[in-house]
């Protein structure tokens, strides 16, 4: 109840009896102000904990100018073969991982839906999916690199797991939102379980599947470009190598190419989405 409401209801305001009531009144009245104050306090606290001061930031800006000079003009030529090969690799990893992700999410999504399966089944599935989503693909990438070695295999596995995590969750939510009446109707006609799924559940959610897939492809493309930094294949590796060699002009070229690729991808995604609308 905010201050305005209390003043409006003045005749019905409860008279504070105990100490607790007085405290509650205090908070209700000054609620917003207190929140703002806490907010400002947190800002200052966190800034000081992290050692961020205005001086450091201004120092950074001057450094930044120097740095920017070393970035330009971007150098596309020196390592073009490597760059071209690795960009393609990133793209390919994203494509395959997305498709694997979609295909694996289908059964997992059904198994994880609480309106279709008992808790015994849904709990482990949901847990696994949470696990796959909680970790940044980079972290999953590090683990896979340690397990299967450097190279695109690690990247592929990483993004497949990440994809299953994201699409799986979206799919579970979609399945849990369907109208059970339609499912009941199919069940009542005596159809087998598989048929119930096919004719009762899937028609209601299949339309969104393409959307999920495209969304995940966007995400996978972005991630596959950086996974190389931890050795999982793709342009990230080339980027990081150049970075550590202080070859900033090549770094700039690669970053520009990545931006271009993603802009292109966003455009294509948008058109595809409209076709399937």
């Amino acid at each position: 109840m905010d201050a305005l409401t209390r003043r409006f209801l003045k005749t019905q305001e409860p008279v504070p009896t105990g100490g607790m009531e007085k405290v509650r009144r205090f908070f209700r009245f000054y609620g917003v102000q207190i929140l703002l104050f806490l907010f400002a306090a947190y800002l200052l606290f966190a800034l000081s904990r992290l050692g961020i001061s205005p001086k450091r930031i201004s120092e950074g800006f001057t450094q930044g100018k120097v740095f920017l000079n070393r970035l330009f003009p971007p150098d596309f030529i020196t390592r073009w073969d490597d760059i071209r090969h690795d960009m393609l690799e990133s793209l390919e990893i994203a494509i395959v991982a997305s498709i694997i992700g979609i295909f694996l999410s289908l059964p997992l999504g059904l198994l994880g839906a609480r309106n279709l399966m008992p808790s015994v089944v849904t709990w482990p599935v949901r847990f696994f999916i949470s696990l796959a989503r909680a970790f940044n693909p980079i972290i999953i990438g590090i683990i896979f690199v340690k397990a299967v070695g450097f190279g695109p295999l690690a990247g592929l596995l990483t993004l497949s797991v990440a994809s299953v995590g994201f699409i799986g969750k979206l799919f579970i939510e979609a399945v849990e939102e369907i109208s059970m009446k339609q499912v009941e109707a199919v069940r009542a006609s005596g159809a087998s379980f598989l048929s119930v799924i096919r004719f009762g559940v899937l028609p209601q959610v299949s339309a969104r599947f393409i959307g999920f897939g495209m969304y995940q492809f966007d995400s996978n493309l972005r991630n596959s470009t950086t996974l190389g930094i931890v050795g999982a294949g793709g342009i990230g590796g080339t980027l990081f190598a150049a970075y550590q060699r202080f070859d900033y002009r090549i770094v700039c070229a690669i970053v520009l190419l990545i931006i271009g690729l993603i802009i292109l991808d966003e455009y294509v995604s948008e058109r595809v989405r409209r076709v399937f609308q």
Binding site: L4, R7, F8, V32
Partner: protein, 233 residues
């Protein structure tokens, strides 16, 4: 587009403008509180020439003119009470508004007005919980909270059903007369206009083609305003 419009509004009267769509009724209304700027001409309100005012002066002038909108234009997510109090924003500093430091007299006035409008029980409900007629009454209340010297109503009943339209017009007319506030309305419902107007003005294609008491509004004059007469039978 308005052409050569010349109009005098007398204090304490209800003036209703009628006319076909596109006749310029809404444009005229919006020029009065400077939501639209006329390209030429003067609009005098208590000695001030409205189109020449800007900034703070214009806002000071605006708060003396209350406006009721066709689509009620309430801030849906705020409560009815807060919507009424928006009428006082022209008299308050922004900081006061942010911390909801409304004057006690304002809150009391809002409460009294709500009771008068029959909406006391909705005071703390969100505006989008109300029906059309109720919302328009809140709109009227908001305009009246400004303690205006003039009330403008831009097609106030066009979004309402016939019965509610009459109720809303009755409310508006009654409250305006009590406070001796002249009302300038535009609408396209001729019968409603005849029922509530002291004076009727007919516009067509940006010009005034009729200006007189409601008794003078004959079928012939109506034909002049709206064109054709097949719709009258």
């Amino acid at each position: 587009m308005l052409r050569d419009v010349s109009l005098d509004v007398k204090p304490d009267e209800i003036l209703i403008i009628i006319g076909p769509s596109g006749a310029g009724k809404s444009t005229l209304m919006r020029c009065i509180n400077h939501l639209i700027t006329p390209s030429s001409g003067h609009i005098y309100f208590k000695g001030l020439d409205i189109p020449s005012l800007h900034g703070d002066q214009m806002r000071a002038c605006r708060r003396r003119i209350g406006m009721v909108f066709q689509e009620f234009n309430l801030v849906e997510r705020l409560t009815v009470l807060e919507n009424l109090l928006i009428g006082r924003l022209g008299y308050m500093k922004p900081l006061e508004a942010f911390f909801q430091r409304y004057a006690s007299e304002d809150i009391d006035a809002a409460e009294a007005l709500l009771t008068r409008l029959g909406l006391r029980e909705f005071a703390l409900k969100r505006a989008d919980n109300l029906s059309g007629g109720q919302r328009q009454r809140v709109g009227i209340g908001r305009a009246l909270m400004q303690n205006p010297e003039l009330l403008l109503a831009d097609e106030p009943t066009s979004s309402l059903d016939p019965k509610t339209s009459v109720e809303v017009m009755e409310t508006m007319a009654e409250l305006a007369r009590e406070r001796h506030i002249p009302v300038l309305v535009n609408m396209h419902d001729v019968n409603l206009a005849r029922r509530f107007a002291d004076r009727i003005v007919g516009m067509r294609e940006g010009r005034i083609v009729f200006d007189g008491k409601k008794e003078e509004l004959t079928n012939d004059t109506l034909a002049k305003i709206y064109g054709g007469d097949s719709w009258m039978h």
